[in-house]
Amino acid sequence: MAGNGKPPVLVVVQLSGGNDFMNTLVPYTNPVYYDSRTNVVIPQDQVLPIDNTVGFHPSCGPLKEMYDRGDVAVVQGIGYPNSSRSHFRAMDIWHTCEPVEVGAEGWLGKAIREIDPAKENVLTGVNFGKGLPRAMAAPGVPVSSVGDLDNYGLMTGIGEADQRTQALDIFKRMYSPAVGSGPVMEYLAQTGSDVLKGADVLRQAPLKYSSDVEYADNAFAQSLKNVARVHLADLGTRIFYTAQGGYDTHSNEMPDHPRLLSDLSGAVSDFFDDLRAHDSSDNVAMLVFTEFGRRMKDNGSGTDHGSGGGAFIIGDRVKGGLYAEYPSLEPREWENGEDLKHTIDFRGVYGVMLEQWLGIEAAPIVGGSFEQINPFAA
């Protein structure tokens, strides 16, 4: 469906900790906002207005520019019923689409299985960061998870080429499938084999890459740079995953949150500039999400865990604008008497990315049919 004839690629960005959506897309003309937020609040004259009801946080400059170019769909009020206030349970729910039971399979893991059922490419799904997110994990689905792209590769310390080859051959044999040895041993066998297959290919990516874009020196910007390096190396990766941490702003939100938003919007903007300069942006869409929004009222220094939050869908093929409804700020509409109430189910937004972008049936992955928006240009 992408214009450059290449299959669509999805980049998922997780904002860990619960981003304060009200201070990201600020309802800057609503008096309830200014009544509720006394200390942790963005003054009206600092907001970057989108229309006469909402505007971006002043640290979202590059994101606002992308928005003005029509590349950003803001999904307002994303969430799900009976939102969990536990980070970990909430993140699990977002990763597995299982709001009641504890799910074992991640939604992107299932998508990778659909995209590459014969497991032809261990790089169909690639995560950058420490630890494989549950969203990417599904039994039997090969996924590559890379902490440090420049040092990826097994037994690189064995210098003599023929000896390393022998050691890798034996490694391959030691990690061959062991039926009946238990799920963890089988998982290790698969992971070891995937690393063996993927590492030497992935290691080529940095060598092929050159760019005029200078990414910032923060972990998240470097992760997106790694996504760009692998995407531009054309290794067949269809789903990328990475995360930016630090959004659990119970205290000191006023100094901390702007830095996070600035790192986020700068890196995302650099990333798309980089892809565009290589004529490789047309088949890439990015979904930015967080596990929940924060409380209507601040606690004097920060904000406690809430429910309804916001997400962004970004890319050249995106029809920019505001989607779904901003949650009502009327106190009688507050969830639990203190939170923003969601207006669109996250599983509907996953459905958008799966069906309208990747061309995969959503219902079996997200567990049912949920209302979708239409953020992509025809």
Binding site: H87, V102, K130, L132, F171, G192
Partner: protein, 463 residues
Amino acid sequence: MARTDLALVAHLMRRAGFGASRAELEELAEKDYAELVEDLLHPERFPEVDENVLRRYNDGEAIDVWASRWIFRMINSQRQLQEKMALFWHQVFATAWYKGEHTLSMFQQIDMLRRLGLSNIRTILIELSKNPAMIFWLDNNENHKDEPNENYGRELLELFSMGVGNYTEDDVKQAARAFTGWNFEQPIPLYPHGHYTPKFVYREDDHDDSVKTFLGETGRLNGEDIVDIIVKQPAAAKFVIRHLYNFFVADEPQVPAWNTVPPRDPEAIEALVEAYFESGGEMRSVLRVLFNSDFFKNARQIRVKSPVELVASTVKLAGTHRFPDSTLTSLAAASALMGQHLLNPPTVEGWHTGKEWIDGGSLNDRVNFAVDHLADLDKPGMQAVIARLGSNGDTVTPAEFVDRVLDLAGPIEAGDETRDGLMEYAESGGDLAFRTEDERAASSARVGRMLQLVVASREYQFA
């Protein structure tokens, strides 16, 4: 003559400690198993590592320097269970350096966990609530009489003592109010004097002394009362026990699933919960039951090593880092690369353990660390294995070669795939021989490579 099976001693030392060298295992096997457990449970029977000595040889502000001094203790302390319990509680009460970048308060917290880790759960939770690093980490210094901040109250219930589903949102709010006024004295600023240790302070004027109802009990509850109510809940006993089981016996699913996924071994949990209530929450008593149980003794090689366990056990195998110099910091960095940055867990949830330690990136780093660490044949642990193989007789057949190295590196029980791979290597060079200088050199190199292959195996990923 050994009184305890060497493989069982090795299992105990991998779990209750960070592994042991072959010579240490042989010495320990001279004692009865129950006696070994008592030695572990009574760290005061053995000399303490002197932090001042560690600082003299390995000093600096960087967090990895401090983390590496802890790794030195894991490798060298004779009080192995004390360090293991400190790591256990660090995993459960995950507090990270990155928020305050105040290294001394992180050290102070770990030292508290080291001192109290084997004591009573009530003592531990109260000292935790008074710990400046924790107070800052979960914003209890921002939890005021007039503006409560529920971060600590929530995580105390959700992550430190009971788990989701065993309390209401209102209990969270009441617990937060009970801990208002629990604060610390702001230490003197970093510059120009360096770090100072902060101190707990109770600010009565900032404490909400009104009547609260928490888990069904009503009164002018303060923080101590909240802990008292928590520790007598069956849910709290079960939660702490399940953590102990997950850490010492076998991997459980991740904590958020505990409310719906039953324990792997319900009878074991029940036995330990009984020990918890019988002893009034004494960790030493619970662990005595745990280590002496059959479910523990039989749980061999089924728990995925955490990165720092992998690092420490590999260093013990190589026999290096017996002296506290600055080369230790590379070990803290290696553990961080594999996903466990000591003193700096990613979030208050702590690290995801078990199978979740492993993904392509971390497996890559685990294998490379272990293989690289055993690359130098001159390391004492390598020399010890080579010497033992060389004393086996004139020659060692490929099958003996594989068996002996698996035995000396663990003992490790290897599956067929691993054994086949190792046999392929052993057979590729024929018998080992140690008769001449040249044979000794060639055979030593092959023993070294065999050890490298063993630590690259799947089985080596388990404790």
